[in-house]
Assembly symmetry: C2
Homo-oligomer: 319 residues x 2
């Protein structure tokens, strides 16, 4: 096995740059290998976001192949661009890894990231490498949007709450992997197309990264409204349902890592939403509504009785 | 002391977002606190770069105050934008830190970064936080350029080589700090204005991050030329000269972390260069020239005799 130490930083970067240089076009004027990348935007606004995956925090060695890890990093990062209704265009990848790492591992991460990006119309245009005590990956994605971006702040009392896809699949996989019961960490669903379409009707939108209830809470605080979420309406992933039975909905409400989109829709836009749904490429489920009141998320059963959950989602500083 | 664990991720982010929300304008449509930042570029091309500072690799605890560390991170990252001749506009800051970190440390880092950025006309528009075993900071800077960017690839045989400012000051500080002899790590010089002015006359440009000889080597490979650098011409920082005497030039040639700019200038552009120098805000020193030949950097004395150096610069995977 050739370690990064054997290859050397500059030789590794030079090889990578040579490989990525094949990949021209897409508004890229100067790609990887110079001081900085140069790209040519259209007349749109730019959407900028950064996210990270850290070994021992977001994943453990052996949970994913290097390529799957790179693909996952792109997926979790682009999710924020999708949640604005924007189109991802360019990406940067910064890695921290021990010098003892097999150079094929870093190669695989970059390959998986670049392929995932390419599949979503995004070019990897630059990055950075440094050593460190463990593997930590940070990605920047720059998107374009030529309409008003959908922030978290546009929700109003009376808006309906919808969620794309299904919840709880990644959470249950993490639980099984962390418990040593094997399995595979599913890839984020890449709701880029859905986000762009839903931006035409959504009053507010956010992606589910840290847990549905907690992320709806972020939307509520930004919009200065409260939310009611009906637990029995949540679209629970079959894998989660099989594993947890009757407890699956509660788990799916807070597990996080789903990277689905949650959106608020005004009553007057419901008809327009129904016309869009067939083109989303995924399910869309009504799970509740926004109501007047102090920012808070009330989880209720079908009869409207409040349900208390042990947690609302993930806090990086408190685990 | 309040630890990040006591404050909680979301409370810490909410407080920060509130503080940064005061800072509007500057082409920022949606700043920190939403899924992603939204900015409005002009009709220019965009310059994208990312860089990182990792505890135990780039600095050790106690070498800098948190604010100085944040300021330093901005300085090392914006240096790549300056080396393209571009104007830095927007920045993202991603942090990895133990939950036991005092929350004031992360506050200080963000404050130092945002202030440093502001001083260079750049807005901090977003970021990410995660836990991790140590402090690791990753910054993205997005710049604009409405002229042809100065890449590393435009050098030709016959071009003169110049360097801004002075070399060896950061390197000697790192050596003294690492040896337990105290001192202060100097801040990168922020050659943003100089870079923009020099872009009008430079055929190729790069910043000195890993070591002058090694970074000129990068320029040579991109431009497919060789370089001759006269060791006695290097502008050695007084602090480095005092510490090392006659050995100072050799040290300054490879120590790195200077974040000065190295540029190649065609003979026909020398007159234009001389008119620019008074406005640079720093010295500019002619240190050698580009020559035909396989990409390599020949370090020579005043008589043209080759000098062999033990190393050319820093390699992250080989130390």
């Amino acid at each position: 096995v050739r370690r990064l130490r054997d290859v050397g930083e500059h030789a590794w970067v030079a090889r990578l740059v040579h490989r990525l240089a094949m990949d021209v076009g897409g508004g890229v004027h100067i790609g990887p290998g110079d001081d900085a990348a140069v790209v040519r935007p259209g007349r749109a606004s730019l959407v900028l976001t950064v996210d990270a995956l850290v070994e021992g925090v977001h994943f453990r060695t052996g949970w994913l192949t290097p390529a799957a890890l790179g693909r996952r990093l792109f997926g979790v990062t682009v999710s924020d661009v999708a949640a604005m209704g924007a189109t991802p265009r360019w990406a940067l990848l910064a890695t921290e890894s021990p010098a003892e790492t097999a150079s094929g591992v870093l190669d695989g991460i970059v390959r998986g990231f670049a392929r995932g990006a390419r599949g979503a119309g995004t070019r990897l245009v630059g990055g950075n490498v440094t050593t460190g005590p463990h593997l930590a990956l940070t990605a920047t994605v720059v998107g374009e949007i030529d309409r008003t971006p959908v922030s978290r702040a546009g929700g109003r009392p009376g808006d309906a709450l919808y969620v794309t896809g299904a919840l709880g699949m990644a959470g249950i996989a993490v639980r099984q992997l962390a418990g040593g019961r094997g399995g595979r960490l599913p890839q984020p669903p890449l709701r880029v197309r859905a986000g762009r379409l839903l931006a035409a009707v959504a009053s507010a939108m956010i992606d589910v990264s840290d847990g549905l209830v907690q992320d709806i809470g972020h939307l509520c605080r930004a919009s200065r409204v409260a939310a009611e979420v009906e637990l029995d309406r949540l679209p629970v992933a079959p894998r989660c349902r099989r594993a947890l039975g009757a407890a699956a909905s509660r788990f799916a409400a807070t597990a996080g890592e789903d990277y689905e989109l949650v959106l608020a829709v005004r009553p007057a836009r419901e008809a327009a939403l129904r016309r869009i749904v067939p083109r989303l490429g995924c399910r869309l489920t009504r799970i509740g509504r926004l109501v007047a009141g102090r920012p808070a998320v009330r989880v209720i059963d079908a009869a409207g009785t409040p349900i208390t959950l042990a947690r609302s989602g993930f806090d990086h500083f408190r685990r």
